[in-house]
């Protein structure tokens, strides 16, 4: 618990993370101190590497996490976040393989830092929730994952293609860490029925998970910059669940 006579500081800047012979830009925010601190990788949402994700990285850093948020659209060029997101849409989206590779590269980057405790978690919302879950199923190097309303974890066979070759739910058997899921009961992607299917798959494979489902909330209820989506009461409780879950698994 913070006290008012306590020093704190954050160091935050854009950096470049080596990723598969290339580099991906990333926002790195960390507590100003020697550590050791646990790490977090944030997977941004469909509207891109935007201000909400920069501010969320700072929030994680204030809570004691060395936090890195890669620009998953980095290879599509640069401009304002919404212009870049439009370019990604026009070019048919970023591939799951690219995102997973960038996520794993960020985990490796964090683990090489001298002030890291050695434990790393993943967090994402919307498509980022899906990407965080997907990455957690394809690495054994992480200790917790937070999936906030990740859509298309459950996918119909007709939705699979070269960019999304496997539905994340079908990789659940390989999930290597506990998962926290936060969902709105008024969301239609993922729908409550899809969340049920995801939960059943986690149970089937004996995975450690917590799912919390909120009445009166739809998609994106953490987004204070989107008045139509934001639900203050549910967001406050959801963040409490995030900090509690991460403290237990990364602390």
């Amino acid at each position: 618990m913070r006290t008012t006579d306590q020093y704190e500081g954050i160091i935050a800047e854009i950096t470049a993370v080596p990723a598969g012979g290339d580099y991906v830009h990333a926002y790195l925010a960390r507590p100003a101190g020697p550590g050791p601190y646990p790490g977090m990788v944030l997977f941004h949402h469909r509207p891109g590497w935007d201000d909400w994700y920069m501010e969320t990285a700072l929030r994680f850093a204030r809570h004691g996490y060395v936090t890195i948020c890669p620009d998953l659209y980095c290879r599509f060029g640069h401009g304002t976040p919404d212009d870049v997101a439009a370019s990604v849409r026009a070019q048919g989206d970023v591939s799951d393989e690219q995102v997973v590779n960038d996520g794993r590269a960020c985990v490796a980057y964090l683990k090489a830092l001298p002030y890291l405790s050695g434990k790393v978690g993943l967090f994402g919302t919307c498509s980022g929730g899906r990407h965080a879950y997907l990455t957690a199923c394809r690495t054994t190097e992480v200790d917790a994952v937070v999936d906030c309303w990740g859509g298309r974890v459950v996918m119909a066979p007709g939705d699979l293609n070269d960019k999304y070759p496997v539905a994340p739910i079908d990789l659940t058997k390989d999930l290597s860490c506990p998962v926290l899921g936060l969902f709105g009961n008024e969301d239609r992607s993922p729908s409550p029925a899809e969340v049920d299917r995801h939960e059943a798959e986690l149970n089937k494979h004996g995975k450690t998970y917590e799912f919390h489902r909120y009445d009166g909330a739809g998609h994106g209820f953490f987004y204070y910059d989107r008045p139509a989506a934001y639900r203050a009461e549910q967001a406050v409780d959801g963040w409490t669940k995030v900090w509690d879950f991460l403290a237990r698994h990364l602390g």
Partner: protein, 97 residues
């Protein structure tokens, strides 16, 4: 992408962005999370092209209902314009007008 709904049309014309015009070459359409409009999903319509050596984009994010009204109005206007063009062609061939 949170939906997989997208489409594209090659177009030719001009668009205005800020104080300047640019050549429009593509129209990209999607139904996905908007960046600004206050909807969970919106019809995203981008007119894209080049402004000199820089990429340029004119963007609108529309509710589904208003996108339908736009599509219908666009179709009506295009059909009226095509009829007008046919009439001019017929008059030219007949040597009148």
């Amino acid at each position: 992408m949170c939906t997989t709904i997208s489409d594209h049309a090659a177009v030719s014309g001009s668009g205005k962005q800020g104080g300047g015009w640019f050549r429009v070459e593509h129209a990209h359409l999607a139904y996905d999370h908007p960046s600004h409009a206050a909807f969970e999903h919106a019809l995203l319509l981008d007119f894209a092209g080049q402004a000199g050596d820089r990429p340029a984009r004119l963007a609108v994010e529309l509710s589904l209902d208003s996108a339908r009204r736009l599509a219908e109005a666009l179709t009506r206007t295009v059909e009226a314009a095509e009829a007008y063009e046919r009439k001019l062609d017929e008059q030219a061939r007949a040597g009148v007008g």
